[in-house]
Symmetry: C2
Subunit: 137 residues, 2 copies
Amino acid sequence: MLKRIYHLGYAVEDLEVAARFYRENLGVEIEEPEEVEEQGIRAAMFRVGDSAVELVEPTCPDSPVGKFLRKRGEGFHHVAFEVEDLEAALAELKERGVELIDERPRVGVGGSKMAFIHPKGAHGVLTELVELPEKEA
Amino acid sequence: MLKRIYHLGYAVEDLEVAARFYRENLGVEIEEPEEVEEQGIRAAMFRVGDSAVELVEPTCPDSPVGKFLRKRGEGFHHVAFEVEDLEAALAELKERGVELIDERPRVGVGGSKMAFIHPKGAHGVLTELVELPEKEA
């Protein structure tokens, strides 16, 4: 079901400071930051092999990432795996009784579909499943 | 400097329970568990694309992973990135003042070299760098 690690999401206090850390010390190329208003975040990513790391800064303290930072501090926030067929994956997980945040796919950037498994349902790891539009897959 | 995500390490209370969760619900193939006595852990991995996820159970409550579990509960523990030349990477990081757990490579399974950047030095993410022996790279 899982094709690859699509990205890791790291929660950071200050996107520019974290981006500079990774650019200067680990030699990565940081892409242009994007703001996602409905999630209350700004994010910038860098590619690593076939995957990426997304640095995520809350723009609002009460967004999910804002609350996460207050509670746990900076660090790993979620992992996203690419899947072939998200609706089928969600139906199967639901039937097996796995606790989901999203029972139906949400439409994300560029027409990709995404849904989260609840960390309680996945041994403490907030796990996103992503299905890419055909041209990108 | 970073070639790919080599693996993610998840801290789990019970390796068999976590392995069953990932095998049955996400369809992954779990490799044979291995015990690493000097780290006080048992671990089993599954491959995802060009990367892997390692499920890590402490065999001793005072091992680093045992302490982590008591403090934070199950979840993401560390990420490992493959690098070309670990000694050069560590020398550069040290020169730039990045806080390291290992200033020199440790030799891991199968002759690979590994070292950890301190999570304080990497925005809260325990980050391992791995250099593989030539035949595997």
